[in-house]
């Protein structure tokens, strides 16, 4: 079984939840509730990054999401036409972001957590830029026992 669908929204933070809920619903029969949470969060973080950092909050730009549902994995690509993100930003994103000193208020992060969360919640994360577009490809594998 392979089926795929493309969805798109305007680069407006108010619209992100609509898309996230739609994609979550698509994954409902394939993923456990925890994994649906993981996918929804990763997608929201990815789109927020595109709108906030790629398009600098400007509305009227296109954000596309391609979802591929397969027997063993859910693949989600977030496609934008903003200036590309430097590759080291994704390379450096890891759970180390949350290795802060909780006794030091100044050390607790207020932002810059999105990519680390995506990395922690998805099984594969890749970023490709070409002249025409950027693609963040995220894969969640379907655990055999989660069905």
């Amino acid at each position: 079984m392979v089926s795929s669908i493309s969805l798109s929204i305007d680069s407006d933070l108010d619209k992100v939840s609509l898309l996230a809920r739609a994609v979550r619903a698509l994954c409902e029969d394939l993923l456990s509730p925890d994994d649906q949470d993981a996918v929804e969060l990763s997608l929201v973080e990815a789109i927020n990054n595109v709108i906030k950092h790629g398009y600098h909050g400007e509305r009227g730009k296109d954000v596309q999401v391609a979802v591929g549902l397969q027997a063993d994995q859910v693949m989600i690509e977030v496609i934008d036409h903003a200036p590309p993100m430097p590759t080291q930003v994704l390379d450096n994103a890891s759970e180390d972001r949350f290795d802060f000193d909780e006794t030091d208020l100044a050390d607790i992060p207020e932002g810059g957590m999105g990519l680390a969360l995506i990395r922690m919640n998805m099984d594969e994360v890749e970023y490709h830029s070409s002249e025409s577009e950027n693609r963040l490809r995220m894969v969640k594998r379907i655990a055999p026992l989660s069905r």
């Binding site: 933070l13 108010d14 992100v16 939840s17 996230a20 509730p33 925890d34 949470d37 929804e40 969060l41 929201v44 973080e45 927020n48 709108i51 906030k52 949350f98 290795d99 802060f100 909780e102 208020l105 100044a106 607790i108 992060p109 207020e110 932002g111 957590m113 999105g114 969360l117 922690m120 919640n121």
Partner: protein
């Protein structure tokens, strides 16, 4: 977005939204900041109605905590599912005391 209730000198702030995401985080932060500037420094945030929070929402909470300063307390009550999972995943459960419900949180803060 928020409703508030003062109990034993603890301000209970109930979030009346299902999602705290990047579109809501700025307003959320402003409204809680207003409570802090009005002099409240013991705050319980009731998240029992919230079923999704992203890193912007979580970041807004951290900003509020920093504004409260070391003398204030910001406790979280009623976080479940994806919300409680985000606190654990980001290790923010070390920063915010998580309570099963408002009563327990208020009891703890007013003690």
């Amino acid at each position: 977005m928020l409703s508030t209730d003062l109990r034993d000198n603890v301000l209970v702030v109930r979030v009346e939204e299902k999602r705290i995401d990047a579109s809501k985080a700025p307003k959320f932060k402003d409204e809680i900041t207003r409570c802090i500037e009005a002099g409240q420094n013991q705050i319980v945030l009731d998240l029992s109605q919230v079923d999704f929070i992203d890193s912007s929402g979580l970041g807004a909470l951290v900003t509020c905590l920093k504004r409260l300063g070391p003398k204030g307390s910001l406790a979280v009550a009623g976080a479940t599912g994806a919300v409680s999972r985000l606190f654990t995943l980001t290790r923010m459960d070390r920063v915010f005391a998580l309570h099963p419900n408002v009563d327990t949180a208020v009891e703890q803060l007013s003690a």
